[in-house]
């Protein structure tokens, strides 16, 4: 049983980190712990959670900026934003349902520490693109800040953005400041049934070459469609490919017509109105079609045009179910339970197609034996180790979570 530290302030965090660093005691860093099962298992006698550092410290809707302490629940941030007609544009996904830790648990700090972006990534950018500033404590037990609260800031190196996606291995975030945007007035989704993976990727990419600001392009295998919580679509026995438009109602009705016309070779779409769209894209955010069922789930990032071929080449070795996001630029792959989670075949397919793969869901024993994050080339590995050393010379922050001995 690990000791649990719950700093309530940045100063408490610093004093705890001082004690740990002076004695080189490894510490597992958690927000709410909903993503604890991602990464290589961390072996540490101490757990430190940011959950007691919570609260929104700044919100200026007219300047599109919010600051929140790292342990603030994402749900609180989103409720506050919605009350002023705003949102997190990068639509962070929720890994909780997939990992069996429950929906809606994660903290805002963890969203940035894991750089979690959803379907709107293709038009709006990733979590890291909205991160304006951070405060935190590193492995030297120093309180530091980077960035700030203004939209444009090139003062010094972009350390804040550099910490996005570092999974608590470089520093413990105490506060994050981020850009927000207005909620769209209206949403409409065009759903094209029964496209093959190839055709779906082709159509999704085509949709993005049109000037209508498509803000979501996803394609789901039939088996995943049947697991949707969406009432009508879950009854489809076929694959579905969905294209999202978000805008003022008048713009949407115009753009929808133009887009349908441009995509008419791909069949007749089903139209989802606002409410139905929100339900469907809610499913995408929660990845609710990957319930904890003993299978493994991989996340693969590649060039969209490579996506279908990459999946097909993995499929030659195992039964897989694929969910394509970002027009195919992001593949979520469900693979059967096995000792290595299909790692060898998946890594080989990624190597030949370009991109990288992360094993998001697997048993602890599997995560202990296979590389969870994409193995790095020698030059990048050297820089990565240098950065770890610069931030956390005693290697006490989430040791080994991303890579062995790092």
């Amino acid at each position: 049983m690990s000791d649990i530290m719950r700093p309530a302030t940045e100063w408490e965090l610093k004093s705890m980190m001082t004690a740990l660093s002076e004695r080189s005691i490894p510490v597992e860093i958690l927000g709410a712990g909903s993503k604890r099962g991602v990464g290589r298992p961390v072996v540490a006698p101490v757990v430190l959670t940011t959950g007691a550092m919570r609260g929104i410290s700044l919100y200026e809707p007219a300047e599109l900026v919010m600051s929140a302490r790292a342990g603030t629940p994402l749900s609180q941030v989103e409720v506050e934003l919605a009350s002023r007609g705003q949102m997190l544009p990068f639509e962070p996904i929720d890994l909780g349902p997939m990992l069996g830790t429950g929906a809606g648990q994660q903290t805002i700090g963890a969203v940035f520490a894991a750089n979690l972006s959803g379907s709107r990534r293709i038009s709006a950018g990733a979590a890291r693109d909205y991160l304006l500033g951070v405060r935190g404590v590193n492995g030297h037990a120093e309180i530091f800040k980077s960035g700030g609260r203004v939209m444009k800031n090139v003062t010094g190196y972009d350390v804040a953005r550099g910490l996005a996606g570092s999974w608590g291995t470089l520093a413990v975030l105490s506060e994050v400041t981020f850009k927000v945007l207005p909620l769209p007035d209206d949403v409409l989704t065009l759903v094209y049934p029964d496209l093959t993976d190839d055709l779906a990727v082709e159509m999704m990419s085509l949709a993005l070459t049109e000037p209508y600001e498509v803000s979501g392009t996803v394609h789901l295998a039939p088996a995943l469609v049947s697991r949707l919580t969406h009432k009508t679509l879950s009854k489809e026995k076929r694959s579905v490919t969905a294209i999202r438009l978000e805008n003022f109602t008048r713009s949407i009705s115009y753009r929808k017509q133009r887009l349908r016309n441009a995509l008419r070779a791909y069949g007749e779409p089903i139209e989802l109105d606002l409410e139905s769209s929100l339900a469907f894209w809610g499913d995408m955010r929660a990845l609710s079609f990957f319930p904890p069922n003993g299978t493994h789930v991989w996340r693969i990032s590649t060039a969209p045009s490579m996506a279908a071929s990459l999946v097909a080449s993995v499929r030659r070795h195992m039964k897989v179910e694929a969910y394509y996001d970002w027009s195919g630029g992001l593949i979520w792959l469900e693979t059967p339970a096995s000792a290595d989670a299909g790692s060898a075949d998946i890594r080989r397919a990624v190597a030949t197609h370009g991109g990288h793969a992360t094993l998001i869901r697997a048993d602890e024993t599997v995560r202990r034996t296979v590389e969870v994050f994409q193995p790095l080339g020698p030059a990048v590995d050297r820089i990565t180790r240098g950065l770890k050393q610069a931030f956390d010379p005693m290697n006490i922050l989430n040791p080994g979570r991303m890579y062995a001995s790092l």
Binding site: E60, P61, A62, E63, L64, N115, R121, I122, G125, A126, R128, D129, I143, F144, K145, S146, G148, V150, M151, K152, N153, V154, T155, G156, Y157, D158, V159, R161, G162, A164, S166, L181, P182, L183, D185, S205, L208, T209, P211, F248, R250, S251, Y254, S301, T302, A303, S305, G329, L330, G354, G355, H356, L376, G377, A379, I383, G386, L387, A390, F391
Partner: protein, 496 residues
């Protein structure tokens, strides 16, 4: 001007100049090396012309391998390197040192691959910003960041400084639009980071490299995101009797849920100068002018401009003009984008680049006027209002004794003011030489230490763009500390 100390040259290195030139010729060929005095003079400064130093030599490799060979040589011989794009830095980011070699990538300007399906372009980093958009324009695509110097500045320079532009309110700055880089480290190693896919594996090294002001390596190739252009775009101009009202108008537009592509602000002195230059039809009877651009179909543009006009009307604007033609739109933007040049025609000026929270605009403009009046200087203000990035242009007479120093002092006070209201020293020009000694206004000792340790990961000997970004004392202290650690620690531990 010129009160910022440049590091003194190492006489031993300077004494070896001729042999260094010979070595560079062997490495890259005679036609890639500039060593005569007239040739070197063209590289002794950038757009912060008050600071200039003659470099040892300039080398302009044509390939990544050439850059690698030069950097490997520099490292082996302990010679400082000044990476250079087009030399358009307003912050002295590309001012060389007398004991440095300038390594320019301007000959590496080819488009390598355009992929509309996957929406990226792979280019050599010496390509100009505008040439990327030109290369994809026939298919109605574009590369989004649009710094005012886009006709001349290189992508490599944009990556080094994380450049922005007028339209980044909607499309983001360089860091949001670069997917991958090929970078040569000071060891001469060629590192590929990112690529055609949308996110990075492992740590976000791209985030650190973009905006590192040439201190981590030399980027020779990049993969950038290209976007499909909107069906159309049109600006409108709204003039107000006070900057306060203009600021309120911007805040109300954004709070209403509309994010225009650009919201630009000019004060009266800026309007007058830009109008004289571009004949854009700017209203002359107003104290503050907003240029607001929206995108979409004809109908969408009309709807959005009407909506913005309805917000503006509540504030009794003195002028409200919607562009009536593509020609007029071009003139409106020409006036704004040539503001620096237009002011340069009537006066020497010192261009500042702070960012402030929008709500502080009236207060900050008042204080800027007061600061400049105190020094007896005039000022014109250009403001990327949507994202709070303020460019006060402090005018002075370079021939009047002491006036340049006054401009520099006024500039420093203005930047401290920006920080004091919650903003920052630089929104898009970079720290460079100009703001180096102000870093401690914004950052604590620990904040700086964190950054210096990252620098040491890439370039522990501080050969790349030495003398910039951080106060020299802080850098020296970090170098001394690292050296002590190296001599104290057994080698095996240092390697881990």
């Amino acid at each position: 001007m010129a009160s910022i100390a440049l590091p003194l040259p190492d006489p031993e290195i300077v004494g070896r100049r001729e042999s260094i030139v010979r070595d560079l010729v062997v490495l890259c060929g005679a036609d890639a090396v500039i060593s005569d005095e007239d040739g070197r003079r063209a590289f002794e400064t950038d757009a912060l012309t008050a600071y200039r130093r003659m470099p040892l030599a300039i080398v302009l490799p044509s390939t990544t391998e050439g850059v690698s060979a030069v950097l490997k040589y520099a490292k082996a011989n302990g010679i400082k390197v000044m990476p250079r794009g087009a030399g358009t830095s307003l912050a002295g980011g590309a001012v060389p040192l007398e004991d440095s070699i300038v390594v320019g990538i301007s000959k590496m300007n080819r488009v390598l691959e355009i992929d509309f399906h996957n929406r990226f372009a792979r280019v050599e980093a010496g390509i100009t910003n505008l040439a990327i958009s030109a290369a994809v324009g026939a298919e109605d695509f574009f590369y989004a960041p649009d710094p005012s110097s886009q006709i001349a500045c290189t992508l490599a320079g944009n990556i080094a400084m994380n450049s922005g532009g007028a339209h980044c309110l909607k499309y983001g700055v360089t860091t949001n639009n670069v997917l991958g880089v090929r970078m040569v480290t000071i060891d001469g190693e060629v590192v590929d980071i990112g690529g055609a896919h949308l996110d990075s594996e492992g740590y976000d090294l791209l985030a650190l490299i973009v905006g590192s002001e040439g201190q981590f390596g030399i980027v020779t190739e990049a993969t950038v995101r290209i976007l499909r252009a909107a069906e159309g775009a049109r600006p409108m101009m709204i003039g107000f009797e006070s900057s306060a009202k203009a600021g309120i108008c911007v805040a109300r537009i954004i709070a209403s849920g509309i994010i225009p592509v650009a919201i630009e602000f000019m004060d009266k002195p800026a309007i007058e100068v830009c109008e004289a230059f571009a004949k854009a039809g700017y209203p002359m009877n107003v104290e503050a002018l907003l240029i607001i651009e929206v995108e979409g179909s004809e109908q969408e543009i009309a709807d959005r401009l009407a909506y913005i006009a309805s917000i503006a009307h509540e504030l009794n604007p003195q002028a409200l003009v919607v562009s009536g033609s593509p020609e007029q739109s071009a003139k409106i933007w020409k006036g704004r984008k040539s503001a620096f040049g237009a002011i340069g025609r009537i006066s020497d000026y010192y261009c500042m680049d702070g960012t402030i929270p929008l709500a502080h605009l009236p207060h900050v403009l008042e204080q800027i006027s007061a600061i400049c009046a105190k020094y007896g200087l005039r000022v014109a203000n250009i403001f990327h209002a949507g994202d709070g990035n303020l460019h006060p242009l402090v005018m002075y007479d370079a021939n009047a004794p002491g006036e340049a120093d006054k401009a520099e002092k006024a500039g420093a006070e203005i930047l401290k003011l920006c920080v004091s209201v919650g903003g920052c020293l630089t929104g898009e020009h970079g720290v460079g030489l100009e703001k180096r000694d102000l870093m401690r206004v914004q950052f604590s000792e620990e904040d700086i230490a964190v950054q210096l340790r990252i620098k040491a990961v890439f370039d522990p000997d501080w050969l790349l763009n030495f003398g910039k970004v951080f106060p020299l004392d802080d850098v020296q202290a970090a170098i001394d500390k690292a050296q002590r650690a190296r001599t104290e620690a057994p080698p095996s531990e240092a390697a881990a």
